[in-house]
């Protein structure tokens, strides 16, 4: 079982901080963005950004697997 790299784990922690632990900071209505209350806008934005984070994690892990295959 290969363990994920710490860079990958840190990147994956970003969505957890943004969408979960920091809730007191963004759970408010003002300023409304694109007609949405701020908390709803924040979560929707982070759905997309989380996917981006995971894409980076995926690229990182792929590169690492390839490097390990070349030099086992």
């Amino acid at each position: 079982m290969r363990k994920p790299s710490s860079a990958a784990l840190l990147l994956a922690l970003v969505p957890f901080v943004a969408m979960c632990f920091s809730v007191p900071l963004w759970d408010r209505i003002e300023p409304m963005v694109l007609g949405l209350p701020f908390n709803l806008f924040w979560l929707i934005a982070w759905i997309v950004l989380s996917s981006g984070c995971m894409w980076l994690v995926y690229r990182l892990e792929c590169a690492r697997a390839a490097a390990e295959q070349r030099a086992p």
Binding site: G35, L36, P37, L40, V48
Partner: protein
Amino acid sequence: MSPAAVCLATIFAIVAVGTIVGFLAGVRRRMDLEQWTVGGRGFGVALVFLLMAGEVYTTFAFLGASGWAYSRGGPTLYVLAYLTLAYVMSFFILPQIWEAGRRHGMQTQSDFFLARYGNPWLAGCVCIVGIVCFVPYLQLQITGVGLIVSIASYDGIAPGPAMAVAVALLVAFVCVNGVRAVAWVSIVKDVLMVLAALAIGIGVPLIHFGGIGPMFQALVHAHPTHLTMPGATRNLGHAWFISTVLLTSLGFYMWPHSFAASFTARSADTLRRNAVVMPLYTLTLAFIFFAGFAAVLVVPGLPNGDLALLTVVRQSFPPWFLGVVGGAGALTAMVPASIFILTAATLFAKNLYRPLFAPAMSDAQVGRLARVTVVVLGLISLCLALYSSPTLVSLLLTGYAGVTQFFPGVVLGLYWPRVSARGVFAGLLAGVGGAVFLMTTHRDPLFGLSAGFLALCLNFLIVVIVSLVTPAVSRERSPRPGTVAWAADA
């Protein structure tokens, strides 16, 4: 034709198309146990995506999420956070589970615990907790179908007969086709669901308020506290949000069906790529929230929040469109329900009945027993749905708090060589016991934290302590020191 007839005909046509697609999917394939339960481990990114999306977006997401937005307000936002974070989590556990599954020929979650810990009692316990947690979830889906048909018929058809028809259909297609049928029906369901969600989420605010922005303006003006936490509730604040998001996002892939769905993938890479794209699917839910929030102003005072979405659609759109939404809704209930039944039946036949009563059974016989179990489970859940108690929501939450207790055993099993079977067993019993105790004595939330989360913390603590004082799983036989040992390798 009357509005009710137009609407019901549309729903019937959609369900019929969905069912036919399901039957066609399995034609010309030899159905052994492996093909029936894990689709021969040959699904690519697209099919795994559809299968997982199919089981995730249940009636709870469709009617329940909008219902919560309507009746509770702000706290509902936890749904957007937890689904996204569950996919983030999946990147780190599903590929490992898949890898182990291929090596040891696993088909169920219970197989995983048996292979990792080599303890049949632990595996049996996992199996029983899993099946018990399914029952209320299944009941909810079938009740959902009843609700949809009843509203779509403009209250002309009672929910009871509608539920009976739905159960008959889903038992039939699960028995004949297994998991492949479910993945293909998901295509019909997902396309409809996304279209319906977009149309409702944009259309309802547009018709009544002239757009989404003005709708929120009006809502903030009329109910200034509805959109933030704790919204219309008294005790669902920020601590509840954090603990519930953690509980549900960690527990999400611990549902036996979601866990087993990872075995259908062609490769571990399929699951990694899936973790990258799945969060985007959560965007659909935002539109369902818009409709739920709009309903607060358009149809105030409903006795049951779960009726909000369909009632507001009935008030805003022509009958045929209510039919399309109802059809999509019926499929969103039937697809997950059939996955629950399929998983529970396989668990029962393969991991409980065979090891305990008939060790000599062949795979083919297990397959036949699983199909019989499908019929029995369908009937049990129908009976429960027909005579359901009003405490359905509390049953469902107990179910979630229950399955999440598998999390320490799975994650530590994958990443911590030192973890022991006795530790995981003790933690599981403490976690399930703690969750049941807190919930049956109405202490959820406790100190503002979700009860299942507190039980999970207790569980983790006990697993670690007991593991440190008991021997790990056949560590000396492990191929490389420091790597995880598998009892089944010995």
